[in-house]
């Protein structure tokens, strides 16, 4: 079973036509990979489908805009993957 990072990196590579090898856990989706907000919607859609979750993009964006969080917390891929794992775990906890 692929790791969360492998799945996310594959989604990004395919959605944004970025070389898979250039996508690292430390990559910042916006600053390093150049993904804009519209492309990120496609990525969010693919992640939502792949993990059966709903990335809370609006809340994250609001927190960044309000200065309560940094983009690194949500858009550095290893951090994004940790959030995804949390959401999957929370969903499992609710369902159990």
């Amino acid at each position: 079973m692929p790791s969360t990072f492998d799945t996310v990196a594959s989604i990004i590579a395919e959605t944004c036509d970025i070389e898979r090898d250039t996508i690292k856990p430390e990559s910042h989706a916006i600053d390093d990979l150049g993904i804009d907000s519209l492309d990120f919607l496609d990525i969010a859609f693919a992640i939502d489908k792949a993990f059966a979750i709903k990335l809370p993009l609006e809340r994250w964006t609001q927190e960044v805009n309000d200065g309560k969080a940094t983009t690194e917390q949500y858009f550095v891929l290893k951090n994004l993957c940790a959030r995804i794992d949390d959401l999957v775990a929370a969903k499992g906890a609710v369902g159990s």
Binding site: L38, L41, K54, L57, E58
Partner: protein
């Protein structure tokens, strides 16, 4: 359909919130200044306006799903296929399905049929956000009423006006 006012659907036929689908209809006008240029002597409904008609149909579905609390704005059109010509006077049967309701965005699949035959279809993405102002929301509610937006899909406070 009032092409010059960008009002591209005439009536909401049905919204199925459980099934996340909508059907609307619109009749292409027999005459419009648009046909003077598209094309002289050979009037055709412009493909971009067919796409806009699908977007408006899907947009009303997103509004209904959000109970008039949020407004969709067109963000992306994918796999748009204009399969055959649409001409003045034709009755369009439009349909859309809410494929995915994300956080701040929605993915829809929309199509238009004439006489039961699909003439175009596309996947349409919206950014979904707060109404820019209460006045804007009121305008959309009034527009929805003109289109016979179903009572059951309206916000609770608006049903008394329907």
């Amino acid at each position: 359909m009032q092409l010059e006012y960008f009002q591209l659907i005439d009536r909401i036929v049905a919204i199925d919130l459980a099934g996340r689908t909508i059907r609307t209809e619109a009749r292409v006008p027999l005459e419009s200044t648009i046909f003077q240029g598209h094309f002289p002597g050979h009037p055709l409904m412009p493909g971009v306006l067919l796409i806009e008609a699908m977007a408006q149909t899907a947009g009303w579905l997103v509004i209904a799903a959000a109970r008039f609390e949020r407004m969709p704005f067109l963000a992306a059109v994918k796999e748009a296929k204009l399969r055959t010509f649409v001409t003045p006077g034709q009755l369009l049967s439009l349909a859309a399905e809410l494929v995915h309701e994300g956080s701040g965005y929605a993915i829809t699949a929309a199509s238009i049929a004439v006489d039961g035959k699909t003439v175009c279809n596309a996947e349409i993405t919206f950014k979904v956000m707060e109404f820019p102002s209460p006045e804007f929301r009121a305008t959309m509610e009034a527009w929805g009423e003109r289109l016979k937006f179903p009572l059951e899909a309206r916000p609770a406070g608006a049903q008394q006006h329907g």
